[in-house]
């Protein structure tokens, strides 16, 4: 290190030396940071070594020339400070140590500025993308190319890291409620530690650096030297967020084969982590100041996360699990379905042969049992608890509350409720919208709440439960509820409702799902742009679900999302029309009956009606809607199935009921696409495909409704 003191006159050599110097300065500051974290005010040996290094640093900076003038000065100042600490000349040793930490961080920034300001240095050391606030790993901000040999390992790492980060996030939220929760701190520490280990192995420098810094901070908390609360916790959370982004970057880089993009946010966050570590003994005032300066960074972090890692919804890895690609699982389910069909066919073929052959009969029934169990098992493999999604929501609510200055208590009920993985993925976005909506529009500011005689903290409840073959997710808030008058006013202004018409309460509530209708007075970045709720409704309906709203003005609102348990299986009523078989979802079937002549009537000789228990329902002939030839045109020889969709009920005329059956829904394939009135296909016991009818769509078609 001392060789840089020899200054020569030759330009080239100076350039060379400059690069070298910057490098050694970097190395020096790094080791300083590492030391200042562990050094205690009464540890003379350590202080002495710090002193020596600061001295060396000042000397280096002098040698580098005028550009490093500021650095050499602050290094000299810090050197003095250490001297005074050693000599007990400071009134408060702890405060002095904190100052020292801050000074070193500043110094580090200076080094960063300096190194990025020197153009010639790019030849000597890799390009530094952002002002590097160096953690012990060198130059974490540089772009980095992944080794192709590591790709499969990296893929594994990405999936694993997402799991770790999610459990870390959950622990952080736990910690927020109870800062003394040692187990939670340990869990977060372990997550970062594992990530660091693997990142080191895979040579992912950015991730390694971040994990290392976060680990330093967490280690202090683990040893009880620091309380993980307030700013410190925010920083850790920001670290989790940024880590997600970094992991996302690595994943996309691994896919595209491009080098890993450097993330400019890394530098600032590393700074914040380090300042949290070094400022562990800082007075509360300065912590608050730190939080204030840190605030601008905070905004950018969640945004970056949203933009870069949309699909980071890896399930929480709880027990011993194996990750399987979904298409493999899908084809397993397909194959098992086919196995069941084949088994049934064999069984039917063998039936006549079974007389007197007990062995064969027994084996066949055993085979049947195994196949059925296999089918159930293969279906259940897709089921995951909704817990993970809820966890995301609690994070979301926390951020929203912080941003808007509201106090929100979130309670999660029924997180263990299981539903189909596809469904979980599909429901996350609508749920985010709904929770945002409740937190932003529903819950009032604390002062407003106090005025209304409610507790200052708003309550938001997320509840999931099974309800009659469906899953119901309820979002309840005790906020201001839906303002019916305002919704109506807006709807009339937007021309959605004609003036002078008074819609029913339910109709009014449904209006909030109308595109372009936002009742928020001002547009915030959270919600109120008038998009969102209509998308929510569309998404939920695409999942064969629906949303019910109940609300009492001034007392809150409940949004209940009702969804099928799985996208894959429905209970169906198999009906026969002519030669074709169709499946009606049993959930929309009310009853079936053979109509008597006196129940039937027509309007203008065409529109057929059927009187069922004193209500007059339109009668649609399924064979006309589906273009098949029926066995009989006489309605009294056929059967009527009464179906309902929300408030709409109607009768469908079919030839025959074949029975009730659980069927696996298959898309009709892209070649056919979406057909109105048909929601998919199902493979029946004989291996043939039969169409699953979509009752709302059918009613729309039959009633000439184009919407």
């Amino acid at each position: 290190m001392a060789e840089t003191r020899g200054v020569t006159n030759e330009l080239e050599v100076i350039n060379d030396k400059c690069g070298e110097t910057t490098q050694s300065v970097l190395a020096l500051t790094e080791s300083l940071i590492a030391q200042v974290v562990i050094v205690a005010a009464d540890d003379l040996n350590a202080l002495a070594s710090l002193h020596g290094q600061l001295h060396a640093l000042a000397a280096h900076c002098d040698a580098t020339g005028p550009s490093a003038c500021g650095m050499s000065e602050s290094a000299a100042r810090l050197e003095k400070l250490v001297e005074r600490i050693i000599l007990h000349e400071v009134p408060d040793a702890n405060q002095a140590m904190a100052e020292l930490g801050k000074g070193i961080v500043e110094l580090q920034l200076l080094v960063g500025d300096d190194s990025s300001a020197e153009p010639q240095q790019s030849q000597e050391i890799p390009v530094v993308a952002a002002p590097p606030a160096e953690a012990p790993a060198a130059h974490p901000c540089e772009e980095q190319t992944l080794s192709p040999d590591d790709l499969s390992l990296i893929e594994e790492f990405v999936a694993e890291a997402h799991g770790h980060l999610e459990s870390a996030e959950a622990s952080i939220l736990k910690l927020e409620d109870n800062p003394e929760d040692a187990e939670a701190i340990n869990a977060i520490f372990r997550s970062f530690h594992t990530i660091k280990g693997v990142a080191g192995f895979l040579n992912l420098k950015q991730i390694g650096a971040l994990a290392h810094s976060a680990e330093n901070l967490l280690d202090l908390a683990r040893q009880g030297l620091m309380r993980l609360a307030g700013t410190a916790l925010d920083v850790v959370l920001a670290a989790v967020d940024l880590m997600k982004v970094l992991v996302g970057n690595v994943a996309s880089a691994a896919q595209s084969g491009r080098p890993v993009a450097a993330d400019p946010a890394l530098g600032t966050l590393l700074d914040r982590l380090t300042s949290c570590v070094t400022g562990k003994d800082q007075a509360p005032v300065s912590t608050a100041a730190l939080a204030a300066t840190a605030q601008p960074n905070r905004e950018s972090v969640p945004n970056a996360e949203e933009g870069k890692t949309p699909g980071s919804s890896a399930a929480v890895s709880a027990d011993t699990t194996v990750r399987v690609a979904t298409d493999r699982l899908d084809s397993l389910v397909n194959m098992v379905g086919e196995l069941v069909i084949a088994q049934v066919m064999v069984f039917q073929d063998a039936k006549p042969l079974l007389v007197g052959k007990h062995r064969l009969a027994r084996n066949l029934s055993h085979l049947g049992k195994i196949t059925r169990e296999m089918q159930e098992l293969s279906m259940s493999m897709r089921m995951v608890p909704i817990h993970g999604v809820f966890q995301k929501m609690s994070r979301l609510v926390r951020d929203l509350a912080k941003k808007s200055g509201k106090e929100i208590e979130l309670s999660l009920v029924g997180g263990e409720t299981e539903l189909d993985r596809n469904l979980i993925e599909a429901i996350t976005d609508p749920l985010v919208h709904m929770v945002r909506n409740s937190a932003d529009h529903g819950i009032e500011m604390p002062d407003q709440r106090a005025q209304a005689g409610k507790p200052r903290a708003g309550r938001l409840e997320l509840k999931a439960c099974h309800h009659g073959g469906n899953i119901v997710i309820e979002i309840t808030d005790d906020g201001r509820g839906l303002d019916k008058a305002r919704i109506l006013r807006k709807a009339v202004a937007a021309g959605i409702v004609a003036e002078g018409v008074q819609p029913s309460e339910q109709e009014l509530f449904k209006l909030i799902f109308h595109a372009g209708l936002s009742t928020a007075e001002k547009v915030t970045d959270v919600s109120g742009r008038g998009v969102g709720m209509d998308v929510v409704k569309r998404n939920v309906e695409a999942l064969r679900g629906r949303i019910d709203i109940t609300s009492v003005e001034g007392h809150g609102a409940t949004f209940a999302i009702r969804l099928p348990l799985t996208l894959a299986v429905i209970d169906g009523l198999v009906v026969k029309v002519g030669a074709a078989r169709f499946i009606l979802p049993i959930l929309s079937v009310e009853q079936s009956l053979r109509p008597k002549a006196e129940q039937l009537s027509t309007i203008q000789g065409r529109g057929e009606m059927c009187m069922v228990r004193d209500s007059l329902l339109p009668l649609y002939r399924l064979h006309r809607l589906l273009d098949v030839t029926p066995t009989t045109q006489d309605a009294t020889q056929a059967l009527v199935v009464i179906v309902q969709d929300d408030s709409r009920r109607c009768c469908l005329l079919v030839d025959e009921l074949l029975g009730q059956q659980q069927v696996v829904i298959k898309s009709l394939g892209d070649g056919v696409g979406k057909v109105r009135g048909v929601s998919g296909g199902a493979i029946l016991g004989d291996g043939n495909v039969s169409l699953i009818l979509d009752v709302p769509g059918l009613i729309d078609v039959a009633s000439g409704n184009q919407g």
Partner: protein, 178 residues
Amino acid sequence: MSSATLSNESPTVATARGGKYLTFALGKEEYGLEILKVREIIGYMEITAVPRTPAYVKGVINLRGQVISVVDLRAKFDMPAAERTEETCVIVVEIKGQNGRKLSTGIVVDRVSEVLNIASEKIEEPPTFGAAVDTGFILGMGKIGQSVKILLDIDKVLTTQETATLVEIAAEAPPAQT
């Protein structure tokens, strides 16, 4: 019938269009499909009709647990419908949808003939007939001895305008594949 003539051809370097083709018949016309697009050939089975689809969409079938659509190539080409015979079969092809997704589709043909190696210099540009006959989905005309095979660009055949809109709609449909 023409394989004898084929074997006399000197093997040439396959260019973009030259290569192996599965040939099949629709009426008296012989068509060819790039062999790499063909997944399998299955016997004609019961096809479940789907209402409110274009006439050339015959319906859907169960291909080992996967529901795939079946297109009647005769209807697609505006040719008169034919009687179903023992030889009628379904060729399952894998095509690229509009959004880049691979999708399997069955096509009903009168009869499958053979696999031919057609050199690129034996393939001519499709003639133009004005608006009367759409030649947009013809890769070229393969000359095998005296006979001519119409080589189809099956991706284009199955994703012309009508199917394209359907695929777009399907992309918005719920992911209910299993």
